[in-house]
Amino acid sequence: GSSTDSSTPGASGTTSAAKVIKVGMAYDVGGRGDQSFNDAAAAGLDKAKAELGADTKEATAVNGEAESAREERLSQLIDAGYVNVIAVGFAYAPAVKKVAAANPDVKFALIDSTDAVGPNIENLTFAENEGSFLVGAAAALKSKTGNVGFIGGVNTDLIKKFEAGYTMGAKTVNPAIKVQVKYLTQPPDFSGFGDPAKGKTAAEGMYQQGADVVYAAAGGSGGGVFTAAKAAGKMAIGVDSDQALTAPADVRDVIITSMIKKVDVGTFDFIKSLTEGKFVAGTKVYDLKVDGVGYSTTGGKIDDIKAKLDDFKQQIIDGKIVVPIKP
């Protein structure tokens, strides 16, 4: 099928079937409902469904699947008529590259990777390092012990970006600060994103060794970090979405802020651009400048330092602070 007519400008609302935009979404492992990265993408999709009347189809990756399985997933979405495809996660890069080349009429959004480029691919990347800088600064400002922690779920380049920003943010505030860093597992063992028991143990260790704020960039293992924070009466920082809203009620009060990665905005923007016929191939960086990343203030725990954080934010936007992507 041809994709161009479905992305006619102004196809908002549910007025006519011909104008309905069809969007297929291929999630990374975990899929919708992971309360994290994939869910953020799903939120954007839901919004597009509600506001733009998009017709959507979703499919989720299986742990340890073959490369061909990812290709096949994208192809099947296309075969089913979903000629705009969002691939969630860098693992899809090779598949997108291949399938996009074979289907030049289909528009792709590839989240978190610039590895596949093409005239019909939009790469949505996020400046997690910049957002993490701000929460790192917040951690340092809030810390009384001069000791903070970072827990990464799996030791990948992506999570290292979080670590790099966080550490720099903390050190910028307090050059003498101690930053404890722990990754729960090494790839290809991705269980570190779903093992709260490990997250809890690691966080306990950090708190008992003096940290009073721990940043959990660990997907589902973050729940264990919050539990540990609650038990120790210390602070924690959430990731991806505003976890002070989504985490279990009894631990929400330990989450002083979350580093927000607006994947939902990215996916929604992508779909919107299609409906408006404004698709632009190439990399679109969601950084602080465009509010693609940021920090949350739910609970009012960091209201006192918000001014300082916003100052840092401005410096980053102005290029006065350059946040590295590697620790």
């Binding site: 597992t185 093992d195 260790g205």
Partner: protein, 422 residues
Amino acid sequence: MSTTGLKAGAKAITGAVRKPSLSPARIALIAVIAVFLIAVLRVVTGANDLASSGALAAAIGLAVPIGMAGLGGLWSERAGVVNIGLEGMMILGTWGAGFFGWHYGPWAGLLGAMFCGMVGGAIHALATVVFGVDHIVSGVAINIIGYGTAKYLAARTFTGSPGGGPTQSPQLGKLPSLSIPGVSSGLGSLEKREIFFVSDLAAILRAMVTNLSFVTLIALAMVALTWWVLWHTTFGLRLRSCGESPVAAESLGVNVYKYKFIAVLVSGSLAGLGGGYLALVAANIYRDGQTGGRGYIGLAAMIFGNWRPGGLVGGAALFGYTDAVQLRGGGTTVHAMLLLLAVLTIGIGAWQLLRKHRVIKGVIAISAGVIVAVWYSISETVPDALTGMTPYVATLLVLAFASQRLRMPAADGLPYRKGEGH
């Protein structure tokens, strides 16, 4: 294909195991030596987390699910059924905990976990006991089925639930835990003084009386109960006889199928309990892939422990402790352990060289020890990518250094058909 494996190299005890190979006194002695070594290491390296009550409490938390899986393995293998499907049963347990725990409260969750694990056990029993299928095949299949079923059911049952989703359950209620207030704080102050050995001992005791989950107590009770049931009751004697010589048992009127079946069911429910612990105690939530291979580790702990409850606890504790220490202290604590490794290796090498006159072995061991020592002295910490290996390396090293006096039940893994063995 038989599943018993080759005996080559395994210096199995062929003759007399008259008493349990380790008397309580010897176990106590080993424990004291271990504490002493850790105390020395802590003082020398300054890696205080080696013997903090926090680390030990975490160790307990990490050891319990492994221990329960291992205990499940022990029941099954004592009755002669090899159970490599523990991981699958454990996974089913996590889902059971999530589902029942969410709907009916955490205690029901615990029972649900055991029930779901038992369902896995029932499949294994059906395949191995009733159909006489190779035990390893059945176990491998159950791991696959457990993995798929839990994910499938999670997606089916948790999607759209409050705070849950296709890959995780809603938050589960908490199970009570236990602290002995006065003792705990007293030990705490003793621990803080960092007195050699005394503080270390205090830390251990403190970990055992502070915030101890009831499920941990249940798990410990299960170990004791297993020991008592299997070695001190009629039921246990009959069950073990099915693992040692089912035809002899049959000839004395023991219904071998029945005991094997029960054993595998218990095995499944214990593995399920381990999964339940992960979901209800360690995390308060079901998550896909939460077990992370702990079922296999449990199996390893059971073999490590020579198919005995006490040894199994030792294996699970070793793994739990090293895992806790690496997760908490990361590089620095593991770095401290390098020193211990270096000293031990050099010591063993010297002993080989001087007492046994095994030149090559001695020289190799000493050089290995020296390399580790050099590594220790020129580095500040162990890279994070490597610390995660600590529990695995430690288990392997202990197995390689400790002499292998393992003896599995004589008929473990062998197919049994009624009336065909005579």
